[in-house]
């Protein structure tokens, strides 16, 4: 039975006193993958930030390999094996591609050769400065840089955002490779639901900070109505406690 890498228990978190996530419970086993879907503003990015330790947790726990890391600083969580790829990518503009990759690398299966193998484009541009890359190349570099730290769990925040369709397909291929074939555990936040349901095992949908659906990605992918209801612009069918 594979170990549970990450577990969230009834997590309530946000920024300062603002509460964005409420009562979030989930777990991700080794080699497991989870898609996190939902409209804007529901707290998808906040979920990843909470796993990394950048938010205020008012209730609940974050457990890594069974240990409570709720109060652990972000950099220590990174050292324990959580690899976070931020939505803003945050490439170091004054370092070259190769320097970006090696600056925080740790030994393991993913070294320069392996990473250049995944992303030939980066190999071609290894001497380019970080700010001399296109959007797609920056995204590739961000993912590759995190892979170089050889994490046990990859957190991807909207990896496909703002990219041209060709790059999206390329990236999807790589992610499918890394997550499915190589078995890297991952949590992927994405707007483009249908695309990431293809290479993840499980999926959750967030709405206003709560989980409103949790199940197999394959099941959800074949349920366009549910996707529509939770992710599209639609009146909520569940009666909400609103004054009239």
């Amino acid at each position: 039975m594979s170990e549970v890498l990450l577990a969230l228990k009834a997590l309530r978190a946000g920024y300062g006193e603002a509460v964005v996530l409420d009562d979030i419970s989930l777990d991700v086993p080794e080699r497991g993958s989870l898609a996190v879907l939902g409209r804007n503003g529901v707290g998808k990015s906040t979920l990843l930030l909470s796993i990394m330790g950048y938010t205020e947790v008012s209730r609940g726990q974050v457990l890594w390999r069974g240990q409570d890391v709720t109060r652990l600083e972000p950099h220590r969580r990174a050292r324990r094996g959580i690899g976070w790829v931020a939505q803003e990518r945050e490439i170091f503009p004054s370092l070259t591609v190769e320097e970006n990759l090696t600056v925080a690398s740790r030994p393991g299966r993913w070294d320069l050769q392996a990473v250049y193998g995944l992303f030939p484009r980066l190999a071609e541009r290894r001497a380019n400065m970080g700010n001399q890359l296109s959007g797609g190349e920056q995204q590739m570099l961000a993912i590759a840089r995190t892979l170089m730290t050889n994490p046990a769990l990859l957190l991807l925040d909207e990896p496909l955002e703002g990219l041209a369709p060709i790059i999206v397909d390329e990236l999807l291929g790589v992610l499918g490779n890394v997550i499915r074939k190589e078995g890297m555990a991952a949590i992927v936040v994405e707007q483009k639901a249908r695309k990431i349901l293809g290479f993840t095992d499980r999926a959750i949908i967030l709405d206003r900070g709560r989980i409103v659906f949790a199940g197999d990605s394959a099941v959800l992918a074949n349920d366009p109505e549910r996707l529509e209801a939770h992710l599209g612009v639609a009146e909520q069918k569940t009666p909400a406690a609103l004054p009239h």
Binding site: G14, E17, V19, E235
Partner: protein, 258 residues
């Protein structure tokens, strides 16, 4: 886009024509045309980075547009400073609270009332001499259930109360057009009842445009939805029309046919 005739314009509470704004090569607003009639509740929705808050900043004057016009009622306010727009009734609230941490709620709202009355520059009479302003402030606080805690410092109020104070400050300026930027942000679903009734209770004399992600609020309050993507208005229509719109579906659900 054709220019709207002035007769039609003055029947609108707020309108913009051809608003453009870019930062270098990044286009944050492109050809934004809005026509918002009096007394309506419109919702502005769209993915992150669509430019919704930027649009609010352009309309309120915190950002200067590269091109285009903004008309409030029958006045062209494109070159007006932010406080001048507020004086004419164009008011906004902030997604992240912008309050006065060390003032209590009574002082904060009284300040807003005094500014509106134009007496905030008077330094020779003590505050208690402005009883009407204070009473007005207290009445607003009462209407938002903030009266009992009005003597407590803003920073000591619960988050939901701070969100209500955000709205109270806006109401103190007697807005004609109110722009709410994610009014319920940071308040979990189960705890937003007061906030929702505050929004529901807004006077019909006030025209409201709100940015929201929560479809409950949108469908409950909005008579019309404007969808923004990548700095442009993608489409606008009634909630039912928008819910059925294929382009909107693509934006929200990401892509290719299943």
């Amino acid at each position: 886009m054709s220019t709207v005739s002035s007769a039609v314009l003055s029947s609108l509470a707020l309108s913009t024509q051809g608003l453009d704004k870019r930062f270098g090569s990044l286009v944050v607003a492109s050809d934004i045309n809005l026509a918002i009639p009096h007394g309506v509740r419109y919702a502005l929705i769209g993915p992150n980075g669509a430019g919704k808050t930027t649009l609010i900043n352009l309309i309120t004057g915190m950002l200067r547009p590269d091109a285009g016009r903004i008309v409030l009622g029958d006045t062209d306010i494109t070159t007006f400073k932010p406080d001048a727009r507020v004086k004419r009734g164009l008011v906004r609230t902030f997604q992240i609270n912008q309050l006065f941490p060390h003032l209590n709620a009574l002082e904060a709202v009284t300040l807003a009332v005094c500014e509106r009355r134009g007496v905030a520059g008077e330094w020779w009479k003590p505050l208690p001499a402005y009883g009407e302003a204070v009473d007005e402030a207290y009445a607003i606080l009462k209407s938002l259930a903030l009266a009992t805690d009005c003597y407590r410092l803003t920073r000591e109020l619960a988050y939901g109360q701070q969100r209500l104070l955000e709205i109270a400050l806006a109401l103190a300026t007697r807005p004609k057009v109110l722009l709410l930027d994610e009014p319920a942000a940071g308040v979990p679903r189960g705890e937003g009842a007061e906030l929702f009734s505050a929004i529901a209770g807004l006077s019909k004399d006030i025209t409201v445009l709100f940015i929201e992600h929560d479809m409950d609020i949108v469908f409950r309050f909005a008579s019309r939805i404007i969808v923004m993507v990548g700095g442009r208005i993608l489409v606008e229509g009634t909630p039912q029309e928008i819910a059925a719109d294929a382009r909107v579906r693509e934006v929200y659900l990401g892509g290719d046919a299943p």
